[in-house]
């Protein structure tokens, strides 16, 4: 059967048979790099278009519909425009940090692509501390945002960056705590293990209400962590013009913009992997027949479907809710999400020890 796993294995075998191991490894590195950049670009284009279409339909508009059929090439045209625009560096800005910041944000986003299992056996790096790696690397992007805000030498940017810093640091907590519930249930930090543990049902169904609560907490926390509305205080348009990227233009702005969407994708991919079984098809316990039918749908489609469902959920939030105020944002985290997820963690631990899950 032709699947992503077979193709990748084929390439791997062919490279190792043709070249000596060192060269083969180098070739694989290069291929991986190209794939990562390709995924980055394609996802950016797709997600931006998706966001615009979703927003448009919710706002009883048509959305982009001029470039290509259904406006499919609108984002390509926009990217071309951004590439051709002049990348200004303001006079008073710290030139090095100002130009470095978008790359840091982008690199942090790209690093996160590594441990995600895209399909059965398709994973760039099956590191045994996958979950830890993700939570560690995802906090690098806040450095980039702070750098951008500080180096721009603009008051709006500075305020935006500070808000973003406070926000990401706080929400990391409940995101982490809700992820840990799954780690406790699985007993492993490795993402492939976590997916395999959901062979007879996804955690969100197996884990009763506590996992549902931690799923909701996770979605809220990652929405905040990716600076998405209703938590988009860092770039709150009506308050801070554009927040930390006020001074950016051209491709440097595009990098921030793309990184935002990649971050959304990764956050949703992780959510899908941890709670919704990743690439694992929809299985119910030991109903062999039903499970076999579900297996006919390729695992990559399961993964993409779940991830895009979560992305759609986040877009739905964004186009429905007003923005929170900065103190309410922190209230929500420290007064509601954190106590709930801590309590929830306790319940899940008890549940895991007693084996009260399917």
């Amino acid at each position: 059967m032709l699947s992503l796993e077979n193709i990748i294995n084929g390439i791997h075998t062919w490279l190792n048979n043709t070249f000596d191991p060192t060269l083969a490894l180098t070739c694989e590195f290069v291929l991986l790099g190209i794939t990562a950049i390709a995924i980055f670009a394609v996802l950016g284009l797709v997600l931006v278009l998706m966001e615009r279409k979703v927003a448009a339909i919710m706002q009883i508009r048509k959305g982009p519909n001029r470039v290509g059929p259904f406006g499919m090439f609108q984002t390509v045209a926009d990217t071309l425009k951004l590439i051709m625009k002049e990348g200004l560096t303001p006079d008073g800005a710290d030139k090095v940090l100002f130009n470095l910041a978008p790359f840091i944000v982008m690199i942090a986003a790209m690093l996160l692509l590594a441990p995600i299992p895209f399909a059965k056996g398709v994973q760039m790096w099956d590191i045994n501390i996958g979950v830890l790696f993700i939570s560690a690397v995802s906090s690098i992007s806040v450095i980039g945002i702070l750098m951008a805000g500080w180096a721009s030498n603009n008051k709006y940017s500075l305020l935006g960056a500070m808000r973003s810093g406070a926000q990401i640091v706080s929400y990391e907590l409940s995101a982490g705590l809700s992820v840990i519930t799954i780690v406790i249930l699985t007993g492993s930090l490795q993402l492939s293990e976590i997916v395999n543990a959901q062979q007879n049902g996804w955690w969100i169904f197996k884990g009763h209400i506590p996992v549902l609560i931690s799923f909701v907490t996770f979605i809220i926390a990652v929405t905040a962590e990716t600076n998405r509305a209703p938590f988009d205080l860092a770039e709150a348009e009506s308050e801070l013009t554009a927040g930390f990227h006020t001074e950016y233009s051209g491709m440097k702005f595009a990098l921030f913009f793309l990184a935002e969407y990649i971050n959304i994708f990764i956050a949703c991919a992780i959510g899908a992997t941890l709670f919704l079984g990743g690439w694992m098809p929809f299985h119910i316990g030991n109903w062999e027949g039903f499970n076999a039918i579900m297996d006919y749908i390729p695992s990559s489609i399961w993964f993409v479907g779940k991830t895009f469902f979560l992305i759609f959920l986040m877009m739905w939030f964004r186009w429905t809710f007003p923005r929170l105020r900065v103190d309410q944002l922190l209230n929500l985290e420290w007064k509601y999400l954190l106590p709930i997820s801590m309590l929830n963690l306790l319940v899940v631990t008890v549940m895991a020890i007693m084996g009260w899950y399917f």
Binding site: M58, Q59, I60, W316
Partner: protein, 158 residues
């Protein structure tokens, strides 16, 4: 009690959020509600209301005749100096001098479409047209002469 209130607060909050999401969700699955008009594409079917005030035009009949006597009532009525009437004196059949308009200059760039000139006109010579696509590359193109070349005053209009 504190805990009850706390839980109630969360419950009501989430409920209100879901109510909002139901509305946007409704519109997401009902693309028929879309109200966008695709303007340049629908020009053929786009019908402006009859009273829509787009610009001032002078009514000419098929014999290229208008009813303007050059009384400059419109010029006086205009708050912005949009209209400038230049008169000439025709000599009619009986050898008498008769006032008639030479050029009816209309500055579209100054016009606010307030309709005062149309009301002021005693002979109903000018009216508001429904065109609204006024953009041009040069401001001087907005200065128009409303009486057509070679047009004459209608017989019987005083």
């Amino acid at each position: 009690m504190f805990i009850t209130n706390y839980i109630k607060e969360i419950f009501n909050g989430v409920k209100s959020l879901l109510t909002g999401m139901r509305i946007t969700g409704y519109y997401f699955v009902h693309p028929k509600e879309i109200i966008t008009e695709q303007y340049p594409d629908n020009r053929a079917t786009l019908k402006m209301a009859n009273r829509f005030r787009g610009e001032v035009v002078m009514i000419h009949n098929e014999n290229n005749e208008h009813a303007c006597t050059g009384c400059s009532a419109c010029e006086l009525a205009c708050p912005n100096g949009t209209i400038k009437i230049i008169n000439k004196f025709d000599i009619n059949a009986e050898g008498k001098k008769k006032k008639a308009i030479d050029t009816f200059v209309y500055h579209l760039e100054l016009c606010t479409m307030c309709n005062l000139c149309v009301i002021a006109c005693p002979t109903d010579t000018i009216k508001m047209d429904q065109t609204f696509e006024h953009s041009v590359f040069d401001r001087s193109q907005l200065t128009k002469v409303l009486n057509r070349p070679g047009s004459k005053i209608k017989a019987g209009v005083e």
